[in-house]
């Protein structure tokens, strides 16, 4: 098992009131699998993805990558684990505006290592995403679909073990949505574990596993 969550819960506190988002949830993800979590807005999908990707500490429970307990680590260790093992596609626009498309893709690689070794790979990824010719432009010149493909290329730059995508097609048309899911499916087939949070109807065509999130609990549909 590559990624495992044991009985994770998350309770948000706002103005002195508690709002449970995740309730004693177990989850696991294996290499080569494209897993999709669906559910209504506010059902806790993004909270689950954030906890599994190491960017939001659960109120209780543990998350393991291989055998490493992610939330037992300090910030530096967890940041390194996240940077070296995870490729994350955040919801909405996520480009760093001062960097070109190529620099955006290279950014995760440059945090811990010299990026020189990744330049060729970055250009290959951009070519695969059909935005290779846009590598030297700034993100503000990209369309929504191109921006999302850039985010996917950036998530894959360090050849991560797990790819997380939060609503990767929320603002895209049907053609672009299918294209993005095709790329994610291809990524899973190349041996990565892929977890996608999405409300798209076409998901079952691409997913190996589909979960539905309701009231802070996961129910497997497919």
């Amino acid at each position: 098992m590559l990624l495992r969550a044991d009985s994770i819960s998350k309770v948000y506190e706002r103005r002195g009131r508690e709002f449970p988002a995740l309730n004693q949830t177990d989850f696991s993800l294996e290499e080569g699998c494209l897993c999709v979590v669906q559910g209504r807005s506010g059902s806790g999908k993004t909270t689950l993805l954030n906890i599994l990707s190491g960017i939001l500490a659960p109120t209780s429970g543990s998350v393991f990558l291989d055998q490493a307990d992610m939330y037992a680590m300090n910030d530096s260790e967890l940041s390194r684990l996240r940077g070296e093992n995870f490729g994350i596609i955040p919801q909405g626009e996520s480009a760093v505006s001062a960097l070109t498309v190529l620099e955006n893709v290279l950014l995760p690689a440059s945090v811990f290592t010299k990026e020189d070794a990744f330049i060729e790979r970055a250009q290959d990824l951009l070519d695969r995403m059909r935005i290779g010719k846009l590598s030297s432009v700034l993100p503000r010149e990209l369309s929504g679909g191109e921006m999302r493909r850039m985010a996917i290329a950036r998530a894959l730059i360090r050849d991560p073990k797990v790819v997380f995508a939060d609503e990767p097609t929320s603002d895209l048309d049907d053609a672009n949505t299918r294209e993005v899911f095709g790329i994610l499916k291809e990524t899973a087939r190349s041996g990565k574990a892929v977890l996608v949070v999405s409300h798209e109807k076409c998901v079952p065509e691409y997913a190996d596993i589909v979960y539905r999130m309701e009231g802070g609990s996961l129910n497997r549909c497919v």
Binding site: I55, D75, P90, V96, A98
Partner: protein, 401 residues
């Protein structure tokens, strides 16, 4: 260089509008701090230069000259004027108890007319006894001044070897002095014999108000040092009581008026600088707070890619430090561009001696200013930077673009 490492630079270069606004605020801070440092130092150096130029404890002038308003600027700063007394007064002054070393000076003002190259103050000194002008001239000219040879202040537009005309008498420029920051920069110095020739010519041309004067037997001013252990005030009283038609003045009392106005101006400059600096600091803090808030999502994205809290804070601080450094450099540069060409006008407007610090000192003030700008940026943004770098990543991702 790695993209993440160069991100602070790229943020400044590729978001010029955002960076320029912050740099403008820092430039205001830098302009004020650097300006205050340079101006107060210039005033202090001008005063020190004035005191050095004087070098005497007591000055003795004709009684009618002492009654003139602005004697301080006439005698200390060399504003064009002249007056005479009989040279026998020197022996009378020397006879007073407590009088030590003495020397005389002879003044003449040239005219803005065809007979003269420029309207300047001509100051004659006795090379044999002088202890006020010659030591200073020695910094620029080591030879002996010959007949009709002159040394010009730094503000007179002529150079060594040039010939200047005073009352139709040609004089050769033997040397040009270094800047003093006082009106001495617009004076001409020569041996007393040369000045006597010029006085003679001015009387001959009916251009001297002291028409019956014999240039060979007059002096304008006697400068003296008191003997060791003698009380300056007692010597002043002794001269005023025993030598007729002259006025002895303690030189420190002349300088004290200038010192008082310098102190007042310096105080106003310091206070204005402090007020502007505090206002600039508060505006910087607000501007950084707004900018950091606006970029919360961008910072969260960096954390997603594995940037730790510490590395993120360092990256933001690096960007702020560079912004403040460049803004500081711009502010100091603007001050230099304003001050260098207009320092003479500023000096004239303030009516006090000013002497710009040397390059090494200015570089030091620039260093202090830039350090202050960077520190102001870091301090004014510290709370927001630490807060954003320690906030939950998921919270930052929820921020609207």
């Amino acid at each position: 260089m790695r993209t993440f490492k160069k991100l602070p630079v790229l943020n400044i270069v590729r978001r010029p509008g955002r960076s320029a606004a912050l740099m403008a605020l820092t430039a205001l801070l830098s302009f004020t701090v650097f300006g205050a440092l340079v101006l107060t130092q210039s005033l202090g150096r001008g005063m020190a230069s004035l005191e050095r130029r004087l070098g005497a404890d007591i000055m003795v002038v004709p009684e009618e000259a002492a009654g003139k308003s602005g004697l301080e600027s006439i005698v200390l700063q060399g504003n064009p004027t002249y007056f005479y007394m009989d040279d026998t007064k020197l022996d009378e002054v020397r006879a007073v108890d407590g009088v030590g070393e003495t020397t005389t000076q002879l003044y003449l003002a040239s005219l803005a007319a065809s007979c003269c190259s420029a309207k300047v103050q001509l100051m004659g000194f006795d090379p044999a006894t002088d202890f006020t002008i010659e030591p200073w001239i020695r910094d620029s000219y080591s030879g002996e001044l010959g007949e009709m040879e002159i040394v010009v202040g730094s503000g007179i537009s002529s150079s060594e070897g040039d010939r200047l005309l005073f009352y139709d008498v040609p004089c050769t420029v033997a040397a040009k002095l270094t800047e003093t920051g006082t009106n001495y920069d617009r004076c001409v110095f020569a041996g007393e014999d040369t000045i006597r020739e010029l006085i003679k010519s001015s009387i001959g041309k009916q251009l001297n108000q002291f028409k019956g004067t014999d240039p060979q037997s007059v002096v304008s001013c006697i400068l003296l040092k008191v003997k060791d252990g003698a009380d300056i005030d007692e010597v002043v009283s002794g001269i005023n009581g025993s030598v007729a038609n002259v006025k002895a003045i303690r030189t420190a009392s002349l300088v004290s008026g200038t010192a008082k106005s310098l102190s007042g101006i310096s105080g106003i400059i310091r206070m204005a600088a402090a007020i502007v600096s505090v206002i600039a600091f508060i505006i910087l803090a607000i501007a950084f707070s707004m900018q950091i808030h606006e970029r919360k999502r961008e910072f969260a994205i960096l954390r997603v890619f594995g940037v730790s809290k510490g590395s993120l804070a360092k990256s933001i601080f690096a960007e702020i430090a560079m912004t403040c450094f460049l803004g500081g450099l711009a502010g100091a540069g603007i001050f230099a561009c304003v001050m260098i060409p207009f320092s003479g006008a500023v000096q004239g407007w303030l009516n006090v001696p000013m002497l710009m610090p040397g390059a090494a000192a200015v570089t030091g003030y620039l260093g202090i200013t830039l350090l202050l700008c960077v520190a102001a940026g870091a301090l004014s943004s510290a709370w927001n930077v630490l807060r954003v770098s320690r906030s939950e990543i998921s919270q930052g991702l929820r921020e609207e673009k």
